[in-house]
């Protein structure tokens, strides 16, 4: 083994490296936001609604994918049922908005309810690891989706329709959820905020414990953290991020349906992250845009979109294992590093 004097050095080196990569992620988010603003300006100038609303959906799904990356990229937990929390957020938000169309009340309730729900289900899911974790999360989502699918009060298989237009008070301005440009900008801000909070949290010492957790499960207890509690905490956090993203869905589309909780939705989020780049956070946003564009184009071009999606799935895993950001980010990091010296 190495002499003890080597360890702190390599640890700092590693931390610098990951810090640099994280900064590269931040730069890429800035690029993303700027591109989105340009897109919004174009859309507003051309009076478009369809592409703006489609892009808003891509952002919402990006927020959902972000939560999957928090789990997958930072703790190595592959969830195949994370749409459960996205759908949970969407349904809770829909139920709240139908009672009183108050944005902040709905979001508050979603936050609290999702934390509680994530905690309870997390207790179950976090008992197992690896491929079993994938299976248990899949199973949980299936059971709950089946219950929703059969519950008349939640609209059963038809889902719930008629979610009212919501005014979102932001102090100086009020954004209406049916205004394409304004709601797009609001969603952009909201998802960027989700990114910032996640990045901040994962950059704290807690986040580094998670990184260590992924790297070596057996060694972390010696650092004085309970792996189980750390894992549960991140699971709850990821559930809340998914649910908050989901909460925006009924505001955009005016309905919720059990499909939001199905395996296809969970699977899409995982592909999004893999295409974008696992463990980069920003990859989730880029991945979501790419996938939305792809599906929109494929969806109008071919009847056999599932085959294409399946092929993309396999091709990315085999040929681009680190995803788009896994390819781009180190280059940005190198530029940043060069610029710093």
């Amino acid at each position: 083994m190495l002499s003890p004097s080597h360890l702190p050095l390599s640890a700092t080196l590693r931390h610098d490296r990951s810090g640099l990569l994280m900064r590269a992620s931040h730069v890429l988010v800035v690029v993303f936001v700027v591109a989105a603003l340009v897109f919004a300006a174009l859309g507003a100038a051309l009076g478009d609604t369809f592409f703006l609303r489609l892009a808003t959906e891509a952002l919402i799904l990006g927020g959902f994918a972000l939560s999957v990356d928090i789990l997958l990229g930072y703790t190595g937990l592959l969830s195949l049922g994370h749409a459960l929390y996205f759908g949970f957020g969407a349904y809770v938000s829909a139920l709240m908005l139908k009672q009183t169309p108050s944005f902040w009340l709905a979001m508050g309730v979603v936050l609290v309810a999702a934390a509680a729900f994530g905690f309870l289900t997390g207790l179950i899911a976090n008992r197992v690891r690896g491929v079993y974790f994938a299976l248990v999360t899949f199973g949980l989502a299936q059971v709950f989706a089946k219950v929703v699918y059969n519950t008349r009060a939640l609209g059963a298989s038809d889902g719930m329709i008629g979610i009212p237009i919501v005014p979102i008070e932001l102090g100086v301005v009020t954004v209406m959820s049916n205004a394409p440009v304004a709601f797009f900008l609001f969603t952009l801000g909201f998802v960027t905020m989700l990114y910032a909070v996640s990045a901040y949290l994962l950059d704290t010492s807690f986040g580094r414990v998670l990184g260590a957790l992924r790297a070596n499960e057996n060694r972390v207890p010696f650092l004085g953290y309970s792996t189980h509690r750390a894992r549960l905490a991140i699971y709850v956090f990821a559930s809340v991020v998914a649910a908050l993203s989901g909460a925006l869905y009924p505001m955009l589309r005016g309905f919720v349906s059990p499909e939001l909780m199905f395996f296809a939705a969970s699977g899409n989020a995982v592909i999004t992250v893999v295409i974008g780049g696992v463990g980069t956070l920003v990859g989730a946003l880029y991945g979501s845009v790419i996938l939305t564009v792809l599906k929109s184009v494929i969806g109008t071009m071919t009847e056999h979109h599932l085959i294409v999606v399946g092929l993309i799935f396999m091709a990315v895993v085999i040929f681009l294992p680190k995803g788009l950001m896994g390819f781009v980010r180190p280059r940005v990091a190198r530029l940043l590093d060069g610029g710093g010296r």
């Binding site: 997958l72 190595g76 592959l78 195949l80 179950i124 008992r127 197992v128 690891r129 690896g130 491929v131 079993y132 994938a134 299976l135 248990v136 899949f138 199973g139 949980l140 299936q142 059971v143 089946k146 059969n150 992924r214 395996f263 699977g267 995982v270 592909i271 893999v274 696992v278 056999h304 599932l306 085959i307 999606v309 399946g310 092929l311 799935f313 396999m314 990315v316 895993v317 085999i318 294992p321």
Partner: protein
């Protein structure tokens, strides 16, 4: 509820459960040896089942001949699938390899289902043999069902004998229990894994031909079967075929009885619920531990 009704349900459950067990055998072999959970496993049954029924409908081939054509084909495809797409992933870090294999097998599932649906249509199909029935009191058993049951028994015994007496079987059991030691002994792991993937897939293909003789298949039904098969091997023990047979039959009977006493719409759910309960109660109980 009369005894006859319950017995009739039990007979149906045993048959279905036996087929589940056959599906589970293949998954158990593959998972035990290769340590990859093949999410597309049940989809093989769906796809082969559809192919078998199409072959029967268009050329009136006998089910035995259909099996003789399809099973070796699936063996080869299963082996190639492992060698071509999954084996290269094993070189990656454990986390990336796990994600990779899950995504590739799920991708295969999507493609297989959809290609089948496009080529053969998404509807349900089966092979309907008009066989006479035996009536024992109020219980009805068709000759087809008896033949399927006999085939399940014969296949189970055959797999058991292969595992117990051949070098391949010995190697499979050794790799399942102690992959490290097996390679230390010189077991050719790549060959064994490839062969196992082929044999495991071929087992499902055989189950598929038996399945379509009484129950219908559709291209999208596979994933539910994979979950059922996985439940069976988790409860019965990985690499433990007699255990899988018992659990499979119990699952089939349980599904029937849940349908009878509670409502058939809940039957498909019990395997998922059972799996969740088992995993929660024994998060590591089924992982092989060195003594």
């Amino acid at each position: 509820m009369s005894v006859d009704v319950v017995l009739q349900v039990v007979v149906g459950g045993v048959l279905l459960g036996g087929l589940y067990a056959l599906v589970a055998f293949g998954l158990s072999l593959i998972y035990g040896v290769v340590r990859i959970l093949n999410f597309a496993h049940g989809t093989i049954l769906a796809v082969v089942g559809v192919m078998a029924s199409v072959m029967f409908a268009s050329w009136q081939l006998s089910p035995v001949l259909i099996a003789l054509i399809l099973v070796p084909g699936v063996f080869v495809i299963g082996a190639l699938f492992y060698r071509g797409l999954l084996r290269p992933l094993e070189r990656r870090s454990p986390l990336e390899a796990t994600i990779g294999t899950v995504l590739v097998t799920v991708g295969a599932l999507l493609i297989l289902s959809d290609v089948t649906a496009v080529l053969a249509g998404p509807m349900q199909r089966n092979i309907l043999l008009r066989a006479p029935v035996i009536e024992v009191g109020d219980i009805i058993i068709s000759i087809t069902q008896l033949a399927i049951l006999a085939a399940i028994v014969v296949l189970t015994l055959a797999i058991h004998v292969i595992l117990k007496t051949t070098w391949f079987g010995l190697a499979v059991r050794a790799v399942t229990q102690e992959p490290v030691a097996a390679e230390l002994c010189g077991a050719r792991s790549l060959g064994i894994k490839t062969l196992t993937f082929g044999v495991g897939s071929a087992t499902v293909a055989m189950a598929a031909v038996l399945y379509v003789l009484t129950f219908p298949v559709d291209p999208y039904m596979g994933f539910g079967l994979t979950v059922k098969a996985f439940t069976i091997i988790v409860v019965g023990g990985i690499g433990n075929l007699p255990g899988a047979l018992i659990v499979g039959v119990l699952l089939g009977v349980a599904e029937g009885l849940v349908g009878l006493f509670w409502g058939p719409e809940w039957s498909p759910a019990i395997s998922v619920v059972l799996l969740l309960l088992i995993l929660v109660a024994f998060p590591a109980g089924f992982r092989w531990r060195r003594a």
